[in-house]
Amino acid sequence: MNSPKTTVLSSRVLHHFYRDSVALMAIASATEKREGVIRVGAVMATPANRGILADSDMLPPDLNAESDDLVFVVRAESEDTATEALDAAEAGLTAVETSGAIEDQRPGTVDEGIHAALAGDRESPANLAAISIAGTYAPIVAERAIRNGLHILCFSDNVAVEDEVRLKKLAVAGGVLFMGPDCGTAIIDGIPLGFANVVKQGKVGMVAASGTGAQEVSRLLDLAGVGVSQLIGVGGRDLSADVGGIMTGFALDLLERDEGSEAIVVVSKPPSTDVATALISRLEGIASHGKPVVACFLGMDDADPDSVTPGVVVRGTLEGGAIATARLAGHELAVTDLDPIEPVPGRVLGLFTGGTLASEAKIILKRAGVDCEILDLGDDQYTAGRPHPMIDPEARADKIIEAGADSSVGIILLDVVLGHGASRDPATPVAEAVMVARSEAESVGRRLEFVASVCGTAADPQGIERQRTILRDAGVILAATNASAVRFVAAQQAGTHAS
């Protein structure tokens, strides 16, 4: 369709001009919204694109441009409008050249930010604030957000326990979640927050006081074909005696009412005894109303509904929790353990990036009576002044190489955590370090084995199969789950002592 005769067509050719296409499209789109501008074209001046411009009545008759030139065409109501639009577009593209980004109008204060978020989209205003600032200041920001009706994901750690209790009570009174502090993992209405694997949406509601514990259980459920309705993180201290499970209780209230959650699993590192007792009682109440529940409390003895805890399945490992939950959802999760290898002399060293995965390893090895050293490299003592090892895997790579020179070490246990927020390629630094460490050990006639599991899904950005291949190619022995990897190591050690 031809444009009205009153319009004018102007163009500008930018020779040998390459820009990020996202920036180019954004500027073209912004230009098209200018008053008096009817249509915009911003394409490389290839012969095919000239044809497309001609078909759209947007080809300047005297266009002098080659395939590597960018042509910016504006059809506008007047010559002046077209020229101004082209000037603005060119200025925007030049700004991208030097800064790489278009300046946003950013709020200057927390209150401005909260109000901007609430007012930004009237049909669907913001309802959650993610807080990742120094722990000293996090409570101030969190309180303002809670008072404005926002749910909170508090990634910050080093928040005083008194502040945590106060903020959680305030949140419960206001009917919003306070996920944290030090909460690294949540999936709310299908939206991953912090470190989270890309798992199917489904009908299992999760409450988790542990980050990588939640990731391991959710990704194993995904492997079994079971999806997650909500994954509510509550912070690692929520089930401590000091906090008393305030947010776990509130999250359970929400999931009990949630029609999209047909079964519930609670995941935690070993909880305070009193809190665990009260919580099991609460879970029994939920189960008695027809919504099956699994309590995955690391280190507790397994128990089934027909024995100690009517209505609640208790499991003491993440793998056990995932298997039991999958079964409640009508799916089987089969974990095949690895065949044993020739016994390896030397002690077991665990170099973990996931705190809960490290805890699970400690518990299983302790039960098996294996002498071991398990390090959680995400702990504060290792992360002062540097990123968490799930974000920057290089720190652990250094530890692996160090272990290569430690003649007392025979087996090194590892985790590799994938998903949103994690390193784009955590396996490669591990694989490189493994090869260096093994070479160092073999140079003095020592055998060194590496055993790992990958906490990830097929849909994770890193691609679980690619990551597993990188590790396997470096000679790392791969187990299906963290617990399976640890059992393999425990069996090896038993073999070593027997031999």
């Binding site: 911003a42 490389m44 012969p47 490189e432």
Partner: protein, 274 residues
């Protein structure tokens, strides 16, 4: 620091002209006298992944190199890479060849539906839209498999559409990826021969990726897409991830990839039935 295995060591000691300094890549063109005009070096950060003929740097290193190129060399100037490449101690050579894989038919069909839903929900017209090319993708893929992709179709596909790698080219790269995944090397060879005369009709960067695709080499984001297809990943998430690659390139490429995989399966099932 990860490096495409096909990149020659001399790349790091030879002068380059700066073609483009972006947030997701720095594109350099060899200034060696004996170099062909199309010899590109793509420097990318980790989040973008390694590209054919490229170097992938840690986020921090990428931005240091990018800032260095911006501050010391105007975009039209030349740059020597020896200075910064020498600072990186760990190199990993990465083979970007796409190997033949088994892709479940159910995964292909689910992804085909997800791509169709994504593109139809965003359908627009005009010179900024990739939709006309995407709609032609199944027909292009079918013709590529039948080795009868005519000059008329190629003339309106190569170099067509928005972006510095125009949508039509991205679709063709996706088709090459699909042919390699299914091990259809005869079809690759025929399609490559048909496309070569049309390469001057597109941009420098696009020529680079098309040539690599003819040889079976693809950026890591393409490998990731194939992994997801092979692993029966969630199709909506695949499309979502593809849509984060450039303004339109990721989805354009996925459209080409899925179109040729679907067309190939249809063709083979007909042959089997016969």
């Amino acid at each position: 620091m990860r490096v495409d295995t096909t990149l020659m060591l001399s790349a790091f000691t030879s002068p380059f002209h700066v073609v483009h300094v972006g947030q997701s890549a720095v594109v350099l063109r060899s200034a060696r006298k004996q170099a062909s005009g199309d010899e590109l070096l793509i420097i990318s950060p980790e989040r973008s992944g390694l590209m054919p003929g490229g170097v992938c740097l840690a986020h921090v290193d990428f931005h240091r190199v990018r800032a260095d190129i911006l501050s010391h060399n105007p975009p039209t100037g030349s740059v020597l890479l020896a200075g910064w490449s020498g600072q990186s101690a760990v190199w990993a050579l990465v083979n970007l060849n796409l190997a033949a894989r088994a892709i479940p038919a159910v995964s292909v069909l689910a992804h085909q539906r997800a791509v169709a839903a994504h593109t139809s929900s965003r359908a627009t017209a005009g010179p900024l839209s990739p939709e006309p090319i995407r709609l032609k993708a199944p027909s292009i893929a079918q013709s590529a498999l039948a080795a009868n992709l005519g000059d008329e179709m190629l003339s309106v596909t190569i170099g067509a559409g928005p972006g510095t790698t125009p949508s039509g080219d991205d679709v063709i790269v996706g088709i090459f990826a699909g042919l390699h995944v299914f091990g259809l090397l005869n079809e690759v060879s025929i399609l490559a021969r048909q496309i070569v005369p049309f390469l001057p009709r597109t941009t420098l960067a696009s020529r680079h990726y098309l040539k690599a695709a003819m040889q079976g080499r693809f950026g890591q984001h393409v490998h990731d897409l194939v992994d997801t297809l092979a692993g029966d990943g969630d199709p909506d998430l695949t499309v979502q991830r593809a849509s984060q690659w450039g303004a339109t390139s990721g989805v354009d490429l996925l459209v080409g990839l899925v179109s040729v995989l679907a067309a190939s399966m249809n063709t083979r099932s007909v042959e089997s039935a016969a």
